[in-house]
Symmetry: D2
Subunit: 242 residues, 4 copies
């Protein structure tokens, strides 16, 4: 069955900033959809903040295998119930690919349980290093490559210890960052990927696009979505007892 991908984009920057619209005239979601479009046997849907229910009503999440998330300037406008619904889907098995400034998005922060804070600076240059070269997300990616214009994100990044750290970022300004991290949460998996900024053409970069395609495949559920409630059942003893 086709893999169902939903790309969520805040979708505000592109409408107000010519600098953003220059790289993403139809929105970041459109460029992400294009990047994923070469995957075989996928269905791709997009959703934005201003759609009803943020474009993420239960029936959409129930039908989503992997959700991508891009937001930056309006994290607070995502309703708590929407964030809770996304996280519930992750714990039931949905993959969740969180991009760049999504480190402060409600559903990500809630899944981490930490502040997810970091340091930042505009207009830097990044070199992305693959530290787990055999990881599925790194397939086809060179040992390192350069992203000529990037928003610097620097350590300390307040996250729990990742289950897998696939990429480390080096910045010309002097910083390092855990730029590609996998976290298992419930039955689902989360991949946080730092590169990407609305005023640079990062999501047009071929290696970045390959990483996104790899990540979608990696985050795809390997087990059926959990249907029963996330609850604490009283359980009969498997052993006969005195």
């Amino acid at each position: 069955m086709a893999l169902s991908i939903t790309i969520w984009n805040e979708g505000l920057h592109e409408k107000t900033s010519p600098a953003v619209a220059a790289h993403y005239p139809d929105g970041i979601h459109a460029v992400l959809a294009e990047a994923l479009g070469s995957l075989e046997d996928v269905r791709i849907r997009t959703a934005t903040l201003e759609d009803p229910d943020c474009g993420l009503p239960p029936e959409v999440l129930d039908d989503t295998d992997v959700l991508l998330w891009w937001g930056h300037m309006a994290h607070g406008r995502v309703p708590d119930e929407t964030a809770a619904r996304v996280d519930d889907a992750v714990l039931r098995g949905m993959g969740f690919l969180v991009l760049h400034s999504g480190h402060m998005a409600k559903p990500f922060v809630r899944l981490m349980g930490t502040s997810c804070t970091l340091t930042w600076r505009d207009d830097d240059r990044e070199r992305l290093w693959t530290i787990l070269p055999a990881h599925p997300i790194a397939q086809g990616i060179p040992e390192q490559f350069e992203i000529p214009m990037e928003e610097m994100y620097g350590e300390p990044f307040d996250i729990p210890e990742p289950d897998e750290t696939v990429f480390l970022g080096w910045f010309a300004g002097g910083e390092v960052f855990r730029s590609g991290c996998v976290f298992r949460r419930g039955r689902g998996r989360v991949f946080y990927f730092q590169p990407g900024h609305e005023t640079y053409p990062i999501y047009h970069h071929p290696h970045v696009r390959q990483i996104l395609r790899n990540a979608v495949r990696y985050l795809a559920p390997t087990a059926p979505r959990r249907k029963e409630p996330l609850a604490c059942p009283n359980a009969p003893a498997p052993e006969k007892r005195d």
Copy 2:
């Protein structure tokens, strides 16, 4: 300087259930305070749900090095702001020792980011195994010991991968459980400890009490409490750039 310990107890069961009051006539917090009382150079304070601000106003949390948490029947009555304040203190460096049914307490669930669900059953017998015998929390504890009456908690326990799994529980009814787990969150550390139930004298057990004393020492901050806001500062480049 003395280590400052705050013991939080919901404090409801003891007032309404003779079965609970039989073991904990002055409340579970009183027995926990007694268990920790033999530690050298500590100050111990208690707080309950019905105190103003749940007994946990900012000035108490600011002055707490390690917070113990016991709750069971009224998790929902803890205000969200109180849970957020506790978690903020953990991320800044406070130790957090979460007991038994506290697996569903708001501040713990929020720090984990998962559902923290499990299975349960009354009236079982547990054998607690030490799987990291050199861990500070296990000092003075035998390889295994029995808890004659216990509420069974069974896997799957929906938590992120623990940073350290110190104890595993075996139940006569046939279940296993990750009964003692450490999680680093921000600058603080969390220890979840499964044994303990309000209708059994578990917090009178000498090995359980030793584990609690060890855990308090282990969770004590090793660095000053973070004072600056949990925020994302714009950072000047340490490297001179072109």
Copy 3:
């Protein structure tokens, strides 16, 4: 291309012990081969201690995607060079599925770097619990199932912290065990699976066989085998420097 599986068996018990031969008349490797035979698109080869080069010359390892290992009474007879060659293949990307008493096999102990010791007892009953129900190795496996006759393996098991703990074992005699653990080592992955003993029909058990099939698929390389030497190259600077 077909997945290439090599099943290594010490192959001694079956020749001398009628109790073992009763369950494994053609050797444990034959039963394991049968269990894996229903996988689609695989080539299965077997090798034993008494074959030349233990049946594992370089050309066999070079052509093996996943190696299964069963040994018990003659770990010391495996030459150090053979163990080193197996580990080199794992670090280059080969999957390695280590069964039961293989916890003391040279190539496993070398990959762990610890003593891999544990406690044991004959003639116990095990209940295997799935603690990561969405993990690929657990697909089709119930929440828990019983293995009526088993050799007990008990904690503490002296291994590094596993990257993933998929199964926990419960024993009627009172012990617990981390019975299914995944470790990433270099470009390869290792799965240690505790159930299985030569005097019991454990490898005829349908759930055990399903776990073996799942594990082989999970351990299959996701990247090309590393060809270049495992060495420390002098590297030119990617950045132009003063």
Copy 4:
């Protein structure tokens, strides 16, 4: 009781290279001993390759709480039995602080179980970032600091997933590195620390010296050294059985 520290140094470079002798006229071990000398209540011993038994006979290791290791050009001259004896002591509880080029030292490689390979280059500049600012090893260390002359060590570093990553290194030439990593192995802990090279005055740097002092305290055993053999005992069942 005083903490017993043993500093092991290959001790060859200093005798033959004026460039090394300029920074370490009495050997790197002498400068390390000086750096640790301000710790309270410690006994410090040094040992070198050319001492009988490499200066590490059983009675020395039995009396060592934390062992520091510096070697570079003669890893192969350390006898396998000496490496095995060091590792046995670690598994029983000894702390092990491995410096710079010690990433290829026999006892370290054996404890990791991987190739421990990396890339390298002379004459670079490093900026060391603290990514776990509340970790005991990072106390008194700024968020980042510069090491003006350093041998670059670059990713991928072929090690198992560290239990704790305390520092990341940034190099002016463009590389990143996991420069400070903790691994639990048996009852002991290992800290690998990348900075340090024989032709630069790195072990005179005040922050580096503070990190070494912190690490020694962190690695100090928290439990008595294991005396019983590292073996697999047959164990009586704690539960009465049918």
